[in-house]
Amino acid sequence: MADNFTKGMARNIYYGGGVFFFLLLMGLTFDTMLVLPERDHRENITEAVAEGKKIWENNDCVGCHSLMGEGAYFAPELANVFDRYADSDSDGVGDDQATFEAFLQNWMAIQPLNVPGRRQMPQFNLSKEDVHNLSEFLIWTSRVNDNDWPPNKQG
């Protein structure tokens, strides 16, 4: 290590660099907070959507599934499950909310499937209202502008 690069200089780069980039992060966070409303469509977070998010959390769905690619990788990605199962005009985007909810009501009710060797989803004993809310939450999630992720329907 060159002796003209002193410990004091290294310390100053740490303090200066640390403070500068922390402030920059705060600035970018602030900007992101201003921009996000156009991208997340939060005006569509109804009480049902908010309750659906609670169902998602209280049953630890993220413990098996991923949501926008984050979570566990044991079970399918669910941010685009609405696009996967309710795209009646095959344009890659879900459009049939009624069909999706019907699918989800049935799906949640018939677990566990008990197919030998298949990764098993538990029975969560959700009410019809719970599943309705969960459906609304997943539909809202699918509509967030996430720079076109995932690459295809399968998630």
């Binding site: 996000l36 997340d40 998010k53 209280n58 630890d60 769905c61 990788y73 098993q120 720079n147 399968q154």
Partner: protein, 473 residues
């Protein structure tokens, strides 16, 4: 041991190792569930095994950091710990809270656990790595605050060395960023944005300061290299960690709602993130090469060097391969993520804790020059078995990830295979992963055994160094 109060670290280290063993058991359960999907279904669903595995990891690393800090701060400060009693009490509080939480996960359905722990008063449950009930989170805050207070008072009374200051900065950062786990909005996108303020700013931020401080301390003790040189290197490493990692957090913002500019900022800054880990490798090897003494505890050096290398591979290399947005578009949320996560966490944080344990435990057990050679050899064997096994797990998951992307992500809607069908195709690779998981667990067993063996004469201290020196005289 220079200061009696350093011995409070012992319980923290022992409990950390117990939790580590538990983590491995649940890892094996999940490894089998990946292939035999209904293994233990109805008893230990995958998500329960996962939250036990990941939460045990985080908690054992915290116990490890606490033990490391209680050991090194008095020595660095050149004064006894402010309150050994507080440290001992907090150990039992944290241990009890941890055990209760894990039992809660295992014996109570998660939604019921949420109800029993009054989650609805201040909901914080249901997110990855932060599954613990709100009351446990509050407990963690109390324990961590008491811990930082204790160390802070010790440092205030004593020498404010660079290592002390970097460590306490990292720990304060750990505490402050943990507070974001209490922010759980209805808006999933805000939820995710700030979740990363805990996770990224921990493992790709302040935890690197903690790791750097522990590594620097160990190297000073075992190589005898001048403190000035080691401190300079430490500053360089943590400067690079923050300069790269703060905006590097953007690599988590590619696909969860924030604007397109994060694709550029996140890619560019996170591409720099491997550099501090590379510097740690150069630093560690240089200090060992230029050492001023032959310390009896040679295996502690093995751990220090191994940590730097494995952290660079796991965090640096495996992180880099999927950090650029155009690549990450296809790899996000795949087995590649799991590959990187395992090698990074093990290489950087599990190993730095085992490094300080390797150095400090013998001293606390009355063996200032390390355990006897037979024990050190066994410990080194455990080290190699664990490292090679983790590399095996990582390579298996990398192959699985690449194949997953080829089948599921690259093709268009018409031709892409579904998630479940893809996972079926990956089964042979998951078997390989499980085998390495088994060898890894055997490595832990070998490592634990090394704490209990003596040499052929039944001695436990490292007499070989004294004999070597005598024969060279």
């Amino acid at each position: 041991m220079k200061y009696e109060s350093q011995s409070v670290a012992k319980n923290y280290f022992i409990f950390a190792m117990v939790l580590f063993a538990g983590q491995a058991v649940f890892g094996l359960i999940m490894g089998l569930q990946y292939i035999v999907g209904d293994f233990l279904a109805g008893y230990i669903p995958f998500n329960v095994a996962r939250m036990v595995h990941t939460n045990l990891l985080i908690v054992w690393l915290l116990f490890g950091f606490m033990g490391a800090s209680y050991y090194l701060v008095p020595e660095e400060s050149e004064t006894e710990l402010y309150s050994p009693l507080l440290a001992r009490i907090m150990f039992w509080v944290f241990a009890a809270a941890g055990v209760a939480t894990i039992l809660g996960y295992l014996f109570v359905p998660y939604s019921k656990l949420a109800e029993l722990t009054f989650n609805e008063l201040l909901p914080t449950m249901g997110r990855e790595f932060l599954e613990m009930p709100t009351i446990t989170k509050i407990g963690v805050v109390v324990v961590v605050l008491a811990f930082i207070f204790n160390l802070g008072m010790t440092i205030l009374r004593g020498r404010k060395t660079v290592i002390n200051m970097v460590l306490i900065t990292g720990l304060i950062g750990l505490a402050v960023f943990f507070l974001f786990s209490f922010y759980l909005p209805d808006n999933l996108i805000l939820d995710k944005f700030f979740w990363w303020f805990v996770v990224h700013l921990w493992v790709e931020g302040v935890w690197e300061l903690i790791m750097g401080a522990i590594l620097a301390f160990t190297l000073i003790k075992v190589t005898g290299v001048d403190r000035e040189i080691i401190e300079k290197w430490l500053y360089i490493i943590i400067a690079l960690a923050l300069i790269s990692g703060l905006i590097g957090m953007g690599h988590h913002y590619f696909w969860i709602g924030p604007s397109e500019y994060w694709l550029w900022l996140g890619s560019i800054f996170s591409a720099i993130e491997p550099i501090p880990f590379f510097m740690m490798v150069v630093f560690a090897f240089k200090m060992v090469r230029e050492r001023r003494m032959e310390h009896g505890n040679q295996v502690a050096l093995t751990w220090a060097l191994g940590t730097a290398v494995m952290a660079f591979l796991g965090a640096g290399v495996w992180g880099f391969i999927h950090t650029l947005a155009p690549v990450n578009y296809y790899t996000h949320g795949s087995q590649i993520t799991a590959a990187h996560g395992h090698l990074a966490f093990f290489g950087a944080y599990a190993m730095i804790v085992m490094t300080i344990i390797s150095y400090a435990m013998p001293i606390m057990r009355g063996r200032p020059q390390g355990n006897c050679m037979r024990a050190q050899k066994l410990e080194r064997t455990g080290f190699w078995i664990m490292c090679i096994s983790m590399l095996g797990i990582t390579l298996a998951l990398t192959v699985a990830g690449v194949w997953q992307i080829v089948l599921q992500r690259l093709p268009d809607d018409a031709n892409a295979l579904s998630f479940m069908a893809t996972q079926e195709q990956l089964h042979p690779i998951f078997w390989v992963r499980l085998v390495f998981g088994l060898t890894f667990t055997s490595g832990i067993a070998v490592y634990f055994t090394s704490f209990f063996v003596g040499d052929a004469k039944g001695l436990v201290v490292n007499e070989d160094l004294a004999l070597q020196k005598a024969s060279q005289a």
